[in-house]
Amino acid sequence: MMKGFEYFTTQKDELLAWARKFSIFPYPFVTACCGMEFMSVASTLYDTDRFGAALPRFSPRQSDLLMVVGTVSHKQAPIVKKIYDQMCSPKWVIAFGACAVSGGVYQNYATLKGLDKIIPVDVYIPGCPPRPETVIDAIIKLQSKIETGVSKNV
């Protein structure tokens, strides 16, 4: 009896991780051409709802996953930061595409060289633009990060 009770108290983190893992409401923050590829990810063929990650909430308060899709310019950076701050914890961030990961081909004064200069990023998706399969792989990687609790954002 007592042992069973102890078992359940230790399982709390695992239970919460289980719930968070299978209920990721994305907030697509689309700034550039990668948005086209994001649309194909969100389409019927790649079906991210299989992972429980297909109900976009466009209010930052209600979303769990900030997907920054495309180039972040220095002018756009404070806006991304504000959206990130507005999100309620627990929250996660995916940098979608080469520009969001590192600035990509834009090695100039106007572009932020990587989203992780302003907010912590959990999963990076390389590619210009990334294939939809890569995005699905990123969602699965994020799920395993949520499960093991190594995310920087929680």
Binding site: A19, R20, D47, G52, P56, R61
Partner: protein, 369 residues
């Protein structure tokens, strides 16, 4: 006295389980039905590990609804700095409570005699399977459904957010507009059955018409009324094609933009519970309530009726709910002016013409009897 209390308590328990259970189930149905319509697989990764044996139970993604609920409960509970805290916290409940209240007036079974099954504790008592058997049931349902508007407006106002305020203004104008058509759409059926009492309506729908071909259900007596009711009710519920108050592409999430976690979930859950209530009212008014067509099983199996009535009612409600979800995934959204034009210039005149025609028809029938 104690017997009455026990019976009422059992009824309330059944109502809560049915309403909340069905609303939870509908979130799953919505995902799976939309997946089927788009030729996708839909939610199917969420599993539960059965202890001791290492089996992962998936059950067609049913656990996704559980995961959603648990996640929202564990999410940060956010209140905006400049919000009116009291009203901000009160608003979701004002939206949610009337939906639960409305179910009290829905009859989910006929008159039962518990003495026959459970013995002398219930000696000589007969109960109608309805939590609150009131004479003016139809009126009270309309009255209670009007309270939801207040909650929506409060949510938008108390959030102190431009988009919330816009969303709540949109919601108020839309819901008040369609409330008129909703009330007028139920009036022809009240005239036809000659009563405001919901149970009397169900009794009036027993039997068949046109020489036994069709059951004497409201939907066959007056199909136009049924269509007007379902349209106006969908608009009341703020779902696509009438989801102007929370149009994502225009005003973020409408009146509940600032709500997070379980408070947002209450708004969403109220929406699904309202689908169930709309279906319940539809089944009572138009689909013969808890009865089956062509076959009076309560006469053949009086003991089984206590189980069969709620089951049949549940199945009918589920089918109508699925139809509403089907509509939600097939239609695009109205523009704001189209929405109000449709409500005031088309649906309302149509409902009025419908009442006139039904009244004339009933007058002619009575004259020739």
């Amino acid at each position: 006295m104690i017997a009455d209390l026990v019976v009422t308590f059992v009824f309330i328990l059944f109502a809560m389980v049915m309403l909340l259970g069905l609303a939870t189930l509908l979130t799953w149905v919505e995902r799976k039905l939309s997946a089927m319509m788009a030729d996708r697989i839909g939610a199917n990764r969420c599993y539960v590990k059965i202890p001791l044996i290492n089996v992962k139970l998936i059950a067609l993604g049913l656990f996704h609804a559980m995961a959603d609920g648990l996640k929202m409960m564990s999410k940060e509970r956010f209140i905006p700095k400049d919000a009116d805290k009291f009203l901000f916290l009160l608003a979701p409940w004002i939206v949610f409570a009337p939906v639960l209240l409305m179910f009290a007036l829905i009859p989910f079974g006929g008159i039962i005699y518990p003495e026959k099954i459970f013995g002398s504790f219930f000696a000589g008592k007969a109960y109608l399977m309805q939590i609150a058997p009131l004479d003016g049931g139809a009126l009270i349902i309309l009255a209670i459904s009007g309270i939801c508007i207040i909650g929506v407006v409060l949510a938008g106002w108390a959030s102190n957010n431009k988009y919330s305020l816009l969303g709540s203004i949109r919601a108020a104008s839309q819901m008040i507009s369609y409330e008129v058509a909703l009330g007028l759409s139920l009036l022809p059926m009240v005239l036809t059955y000659g009563s405001l009492d919901l149970h009397t309506m169900i009794v009036a729908q027993q039997g068949s018409m046109l020489g036994g071909v069709l059951p004497a259900w409201g939907i066959f007596l007056s199909p136009l009324t049924a269509i007007i009711y379902l349209t106006a009710a969908t608009a009341e519920n703020k779902r696509i094609p009438f989801d102007i108050p929370e149009a994502e592409s225009e005003i973020i999430a409408g009146f509940f933009t600032e709500y997070s976690g379980m408070r947002m979930a209450l708004f969403m859950f109220a929406e699904f519970a309202e689908i169930v209530i709309i279906s319940c009212v539809f089944v009572v008014f138009f689909l013969g309530g808890y009865n089956l067509p062509y076959w009076d099983f309560a006469g053949s199996f009086p003991r089984l009726a206590i189980v069969l009535w709620p089951t049949i009612f549940f199945i009918k409600v589920f089918i109508v709910s699925c139809f509403q979800i089907l509509v939600r995934w097939s239609l695009p959204r109205f523009r704001y002016d189209q929405l109000l034009t449709f409500g005031w210039k088309f649906l309302l005149p149509l409902a009025m013409v419908n009442i006139t025609v039904v009244t004339l028809f009933l007058w002619l029938v009575q004259k020739h009897q």
